[in-house]
């Protein structure tokens, strides 16, 4: 099956810093989403981005489908950005998502 790897596994930032999280996948994908899992365990949808670039406030994401990776950019990080960031991909067209192992982000005040 498709493999999904995320890097870095852990990231510690000072408030106000910028960061880039990466998601590599081993096969072409039909669907891709980025999620933020907050400290209460909730999965918050950030982007649906099987290709191209999107922006939402301080967050933006880019997927280069032909090269099998996606990037999530966080600018001017805040303590509320802390948590685990997952990318999830589907390569069957059925929206059966395979999740990556996540990037655990901690933003220090």
């Amino acid at each position: 099956g498709i493999q999904v790897e995320q890097s870095p596994p852990d990231l510690i930032l000072q408030e106000g810093a910028n960061s880039t999280l990466r998601c590599n996948f081993s096969d072409s994908v039909n669907n891709l989403q980025w999620f933020h899992q907050n400290p209460w365990g909730q999965l918050i949808n950030l982007f649906y981005i099987p290709s191209g670039t999107k922006q939402n406030g301080r967050l933006s994401a880019t997927t280069v489908a032909t090269e099998r990776y996606s990037l999530l950019y966080i600018s001017s990080s805040q303590t509320t950005d802390s948590g685990v960031y997952f990318c999830a991909v589907d390569n069957s067209g059925t929206y059966k998502y395979i999740f990556g192992t996540g990037t655990r982000l901690k933003v220090l005040a």
Binding site: W40, L43, T94, Y95, K96, Y97
Partner: protein
């Protein structure tokens, strides 16, 4: 903004007992999913459901598991005889049909089997 809801938020049960986890998907969505996340691990797909039947299921989804849409709003996951290793966070998700169908996740039910 519409959201997926799940009840209960936390369920504690004894090994061998049956549990039913409940979900109310977003009202106009037609595709429904269950995932689980064992503590500290990644989220894993369990089952997808459309038109009142299972579309796809993973190896985890064995005969101990079943899903049902008992009415027009609820979507349930039943575990017949719980094991210690069923302890996990269970997420329900739903999506609209179509090529840009974002999958929306509920807040999860934390199941603890003792």
């Amino acid at each position: 903004e519409p959201e997926v809801t799940q009840t209960p938020s936390h369920q504690v049960t004894q090994m061998g007992q049956e549990v039913i986890l409940r979900c109310v998907p977003i009202s106009n969505h037609l595709y429904f999913y269950w995932y689980r996340q064992i503590l500290g691990q990644k989220v894993e797909f369990l089952v997808s459901f459309y038109n009142n039947e299972i579309s796809e299921k993973s190896e985890i989804f064995d005969d101990q598991f079943s899903v049902e849409r008992p009415d027009g709003s609820n979507f349930t996951l039943k575990i017949r005889s719980t094991k210690l290793e069923d302890s996990a966070m269970y997420f329900c998700a739903s999506r609209n049909p179509g090529p840009a169908g974002v999958q929306y996740f509920g807040p999860g039910t934390r199941l603890t089997v003792t």
